[in-house]
Subunit: 222 residues, 2 copies
Amino acid sequence: MPSETVENYLKAVFTLCGESPAGEAGMSRIAAMVGVTTGTATSMVKKLAGAKLARYERFGGVRLTAKGERAALDILRRHRLIETFLVQTLKLDWTAVHAEAERLEHAVSPVVLEALDAHLNHPRLDPHGDPIPGADGKTREPRGVPLSSLAQGDRFRVVRITNQHADFLSFVAAHALKPGAPGVVVAVDPIAQSIAVQADAHAPVTMAITAASRIVCESIHR
Amino acid sequence: MPSETVENYLKAVFTLCGESPAGEAGMSRIAAMVGVTTGTATSMVKKLAGAKLARYERFGGVRLTAKGERAALDILRRHRLIETFLVQTLKLDWTAVHAEAERLEHAVSPVVLEALDAHLNHPRLDPHGDPIPGADGKTREPRGVPLSSLAQGDRFRVVRITNQHADFLSFVAAHALKPGAPGVVVAVDPIAQSIAVQADAHAPVTMAITAASRIVCESIHR
DNA sequence: TCTTGAAGTTTGAGTACTCAAACTTAGTCG
DNA sequence: CGACTAAGTTTGAGTACTCAAACTTCAAGA
């Protein structure tokens, strides 16, 4: 059973691989995500490789093995199920549960996890719209495109927020852009690299394209 | 904020002090409860003393300071609230939740804890009948006497089980002696050091006086 | 009083993780 | 090409916790 520390590295490598086009994670990004120096990350990645959880060679990128990926999906399942529980059952604030789940995910046993899953009625999405992997590790990615790819006048519905920072989530919530919310693209300014959007019955807000890329939407054709 | 390890020592010292007539905890018992060697316990107790959480002198007993006691009660609150949650909300088995709570108690933040407390409607007893300390650390001990102190023919109601071992709890459950259950003392044999009891509408069972001392009851006068 | 055994303490070493700082590698730009 | 830089690696040391084993203390009993 991997240690809490190893689990955190696994999660970091997994998400970074998912975000990078090459499907590889760089050392400095891993270090930043886990919150350690790059030296520490290097030695821990070696450890992951030693445990056959990751593939890695000196000065090359890091990627998970099938075994490592399976472990990462298990952690993700725990994390997202806990987030769902905290919001749905305990009524905690949507923007605060990520940090809480981060601590709890290492302490829930399989028994508690499955009981939680049953209690919540086997949810498939967490409060941020992220898919919850099944007990078998299978995940169904919700389809959608980044808000940043839409054009002026496009109508959309938010399906997912892919940046868990509390500040960003508060921003999203403040402008009524939570998963499920419908809205419209008011303007796109390629020079300023910004996009203005408006959730139904809310004031419009302008944000950078980079920020909008973290809000995943499906377009509404009417 | 005390580490997970320190929290475990605190809990051990607290319970042992509560159980001992002198109100002191011995090193070997602390070590056994935490699951380390006595040498390790000695050095950790020194650390507790250094942090003003415990009072201790070489070859003397260990006891908690007011600060240490406050911390221990906080951990106990977390532990018992979590146990209550696991049984009441997640419908987990009464006999299995102790171990689960042991892992989770170190990972719940004050915010989650209070949300849990509200969700459960501020319970005052956990599934074993143990009192749940308030957020202020105040505890109301349920009154009762050990089953072992009753005499033949005495009718009683179980109020609390003070041995959390899964085996013991299963035994208790198998004979319908869970907290709240009414019963009667069938026989007491001082020579064999045993006591025979019978829960209403169940078969009688004979157990050692030592075992019966872990079942706390209130007698029923009718 | 002397011995003995149980309980407690100390020491030295090991594991898991961390950092700072010196160093290597690989790619980029003048 | 050669120098610079960003990224990655290595080293040496430190923290928190652990054990095994040698040692000390204390309280009895012979």
